[in-house]
């Protein structure tokens, strides 16, 4: 199984980070870093067409942030690994804009400070946005993309998704259209190219965030992230639970091995040397 996360444009995040978490972006649209909610359920608010002209800073490439979304806190000891994929409706105003979707995915602490980069953008492959009609595009641009794994160490970490576009041109007048919000329609199908009639149904879908061990609601009533995944599923690493156990057992085994060596040295080298130094008559017998 996997987790599907929605870009709830109509709901504020638990707190406003107010700045980019990553160093991925060279530009951002107005209000991009007013933090919104990244939810496991849609808030059913209408999707919005975020249209911005004059994008690009003259350098190729240029990454432009459109929005920042913050999840509920995750429980401690959760392994996040596997792949992430999503879909969004978007288009470019000019075929020379060479716009692609861009995604950064991060773990932040209770203050919104970066703890771990799960995905620092995807910079190659995929399909350029269509012009003039808005089409469904994968986000990250290559579809399912591996993330660097992370195990939460407390119950305050959250996931931040920063979404946007990347122009692979030196134009400074790119026009980017991106439709996002919770929406009330059906989820977009995966894959590039499906025409979507400009109907603003635009959800990040099939985000694969794999949990290990006990992944539970952070609080009764479903405030926290709900059960994410158990058992095998498409695109995920096998046996994530074993990976989590392995991670903690690794530390224990490392400590045990060092401890055994330390104990041996203490018993057979350090203490005899100490006694020999104090009583030279025993030395050399």
């Amino acid at each position: 199984m996997s987790t599907r996360l929605y870009l709830n444009e109509g709901t504020s995040g638990a707190f406003n980070i107010g700045a980019a978490v990553s160093s991925l972006w060279e530009q951002n649209i107005a209000g991009a870093f007013t933090t919104k909610k990244l939810g496991t359920a849609t808030d059913s608010n209408a999707n919005t067409n975020h249209l911005t002209g004059s994008l690009g800073n003259g350098s190729n490439p240029c990454d432009i942030c459109y929005g920042q979304f913050l999840s509920d806190p995750m429980p401690s000891g959760v392994l996040i690994s596997g792949t992430i994929r999503g879909n969004i409706v978007c288009r470019e105003g000019n075929a020379a804009d060479n716009l692609y979707t861009q995604l950064g995915l991060y773990v932040v602490d209770s203050s919104g400070v970066l703890v771990h980069t799960l995905l620092g953008g995807a910079n190659s492959g995929g399909t350029e946005m269509n012009s003039p009609s808005a089409n469904n595009r994968e986000m990250p641009r290559n579809g399912a993309t591996a993330i660097t794994s992370y195990t939460t160490i407390n119950a305050t970490s959250r996931i931040v998704a920063e979404i946007g576009m990347r122009t692979e041109s030196t134009r400074t007048t790119c026009q980017g259209y991106m439709y996002f919000g919770g929406g009330s329609g059906t989820d977009l199908p995966s894959g590039d190219g499906q025409q979507h009639h400009e109907e603003p149904v635009d959800r990040v879908q099939r985000g694969h965030l794999h949990a290990a061990g006990r992944w539970r609601s952070a609080s009764p009533g479903g405030r926290g992230l709900r059960q994410l995944s158990r058992g095998p599923g498409p695109g995920r690493l096998e046996a994530p639970a074993l990976r989590a156990v392995g991670a903690s057992m690794g530390g224990l085994m490392e400590g045990l091995l060092v401890g055994l060596v330390l104990g041996f040295l203490l018993h057979e080298v350090i203490l005899p040397a100490w006694v020999a130094a104090r009583h030279p008559r025993h030395h050399g017998r």
């Binding site: 224990l252 060092v258 055994l260 330390l262 104990g263 006694v275 025993h282």
Partner: protein, 82 residues
Amino acid sequence: MADEERAPRKASRTPDELTDLRRWAVKVFLALSVLIVVVDLAGRLFKDPTFRVDAVVFGLVFGTLLALLGLEGINRALGAGK
């Protein structure tokens, strides 16, 4: 006669002080083991349910204790036959 010619039994090469020090080392690491278990439990009960003493620290203390106990056991087993 044969008994008189037999070489006198060798005294233990381990000084008493070394034996004492080794026993003290075992006691110290035993106390440390109990301490970190108590800290771990107290942290979970009174501070934060997610509180954990680091696995490396657990491994280090228990590994050292295991090595000391094992070597002491071997020494005693070998010494018991003399």
